[in-house]
């Protein structure tokens, strides 16, 4: 067993960490407060090569493995959840389905700009009445000659209404299967198509500098060739995308937990009460020890799940475990970090306040913690 990272992975971590510290950290608090997506940091992240990480060079990607992708996401999340969301959703949810299921033509058409970060792409699965129960999608697409006519709406779609967004993948009912259940297919809808509108959502508790949208389809017509992969494979494609996406949410949990720990350790060693640094009180030292331990374990499960994927071995169970565990580890770490900061941890001046809020999404997005437990229970044969 070899736990060492490759030299490239070490260099990647150092470079992305420096980048995050110098370019994102100084603006993260203000962007969160103003609830704005930053085109400036987006451009810088794109220039660093944070989009198309696992895509082959042929389509303008970096050709890196999944562990590298996790490391880069982790390092951005160590500093800010919103920016990590832009990167993780951009790669796993935007680029992923096009790369893994798109035709050669679709890949040539869309991937180069998505991999250079000049464009972003949304992943439209969730609907107002179909969240955890995603197969209950109500959005319909009806074939009219050589065009699909789409009607319906989606909600909470990341990266879908930025000025850079070039389109979305939308899960639609395209008919009824032989067994009577709805036939679900993924259809690509380009930004600017008449009848399609993406509206930015405001008032989020967390990820306030990440772009979240509602999508509206009103007799929106797209050509037949915008079908992603074979008709009727939509739900399967979406679930496979989420298996990979869970690794990036796991990386966000791990990175966020590390960020909380680093801030809490520093603060606890500097803050003096009763004549000594508060880290010298055993109750606080134990909190920090627990955080260090939990982060170490979270990193092991996440990297193992990524490794399984890189080895082309089944990784669905481990991905669900990593997503679930890393987001719950961040929950505990953010809680400890705020506690160790005392009253200051409740103020926006201290970054732990933002981590505490940003954490909550990780237990909800891309399958809630309950859904992860359902997935794991099924895979171990309990449900």
């Amino acid at each position: 067993m070899d736990f060492s990272l490759s030299m490239e992975q070490e260099i990647l971590r150092n470079s992305v960490r420096d980048f995050a510290e110098n370019e994102i950290k100084p603006v993260a608090r203000e962007l969160d407060e103003k609830e704005t997506f930053s085109y400036d940091t987006m451009r810088k992240m794109a220039a660093l090569g944070l989009f198309g990480m696992f895509v082959s060079e042929k389509y303008g990607g970096q050709g890196m493995d999944y562990i590298s992708y996790a490391i880069a996401t982790e390092e951005i999340a160590r500093v800010d959840g919103s920016h990590a969301a832009t990167v993780a959703a951009g790669n796993s949810l935007g680029i992923g389905p096009l790369y893994y299921f798109g035709s050669e033509e679709q890949k040539q058409k869309y991937l180069p700009k998505l991999c250079s970060g000049e464009a972003l792409w949304g992943f439209g699965l969730t609907e107002p009445d179909a969240g955890s129960d995603a197969s209950n999608s109500k959005t319909t697409a009806v074939l009219d000659g050589d065009q699909w006519v789409i009607n319906g709406s989606k909600i909470f779609i990341t990266n879908a209404s930025t000025k850079l967004t070039s389109g979305v993948t939308s899960l639609c009912r395209t008919g009824t299967r032989e067994d009577g259940r709805p036939e679900l297919s993924c259809i690509l809808v380009e930004a600017g198509t008449p009848g399609f509108e993406a509206r930015e959502m405001h008032g989020k508790l967390m990820w306030r500098a990440s772009n979240t949208s509602e999508l509206y389809f009103d007799d929106c017509r797209v050509p037949d060739e915008n079908m992603l992969g074979p008709r009727g494979n939509g739900f399967h494609q979406m679930m496979q995308t989420l298996d990979g996406g869970r690794l990036s949410i796991g990386a966000m949990g791990l990175g966020g937990a590390q960020g909380c720990y680093d801030l809490a350790l520093k603060y606890s060693r500097e803050r003096t009460q009763f004549g000594k640094p508060i880290s010298n009180f055993q109750v606080n030292a134990f909190k920090l020890a627990d955080m260090a331990l939990e982060i170490e374990c979270a990193r092991l499960i996440l990297y193992k799940a990524c490794w399984l994927r890189d080895q082309q071995k089944p990784f669905g169970k481990e991905a669900a475990m990593a997503k679930l565990h890393c987001s719950e580890v961040m929950y505990r770490c953010a809680n400890h970090a705020v506690q160790l900061h005392g009253g200051y941890g409740l103020m926006k001046e201290y970054d732990v306040e933002r981590f505490y809020r940003d954490q909550k999404l990780l237990e909800i997005g891309e399958g809630t913690s309950e859904v992860q437990r359902i997935v794991i229970s099924r895979l171990i044969g309990a449900l």
Binding site: M7, E8, E10, I11, L12, N14, S15, D18, F19, A47, L48, G49, L50, M53, E57, Q62, G63, M64, A72
Partner: protein, 264 residues
Amino acid sequence: MNIIVCLKQVPDTESQIKIGSDGVSIVTDDIKWVMNPYDEFGVEEALKLKEKFGGEVTVVGLGPKRVTESIRTALAMGADKGVLVTDDALEGSDALATAKAIAAAIKDLEYDVIFTGQRGVDDDQGLVGAAVAELLDIPQLSLITKVEVAEDGNTVKVERPIEGETLVIESSLPALITAQKGLNEPRYASLPGIMKAKKKPLEEKSLGDLGLDASEFGADARKLKILELTPPPAREAGKIVEGETPQEKAAELAKLLHEEAKVL
């Protein structure tokens, strides 16, 4: 234009430094090693010159195998080739011996400009650059914050800040320039750069390969000996300046700076 950048690996300035039981070295177990920040300025400036004039950037590092990671980082930033001078006999060498080995590794390469950091942030001696220039018998331009190579590539104009003024120096090339903070903003190693760096050549050279006599290197051959390392004194409590109004406080502060701290 061919450019050489000398690179040292140093403990990350964020690392907690502990003095070893021998009292003359630091404990290296938990240290994160990084490229000397002043050398990063050198790498960046070399890449800028290459972008303007073409040519190759070669990174020359010296030290144990772990230095490879910093050389690869420079390659990921955009340098073309790396050389690592590595030999067990180098362990414990002083600045002059280090310069001798570096000069030997450089002397048969083609170069117009050599960059080194103005000093290593670990032992802060600032000797290697000067010694390498001397051994190669080329001009040395130290503590430089601006580099302008003439269009014909034969001369360089550089700037060194001194006490609020700027000294402008012109020199023939080849020359050795030691990089000072302010020279530039080093770029990040990009993800595509990291992947490309994998395939770039990195050669290892031992003292034997360079035709050097191992007995002139290492701890025993030091001309400078470290007698003792001591931690900096613990910071004393600060002082709150008394006074009713800002004017009174300012006057009191000026008085303290003059009489107590004796800095004014």
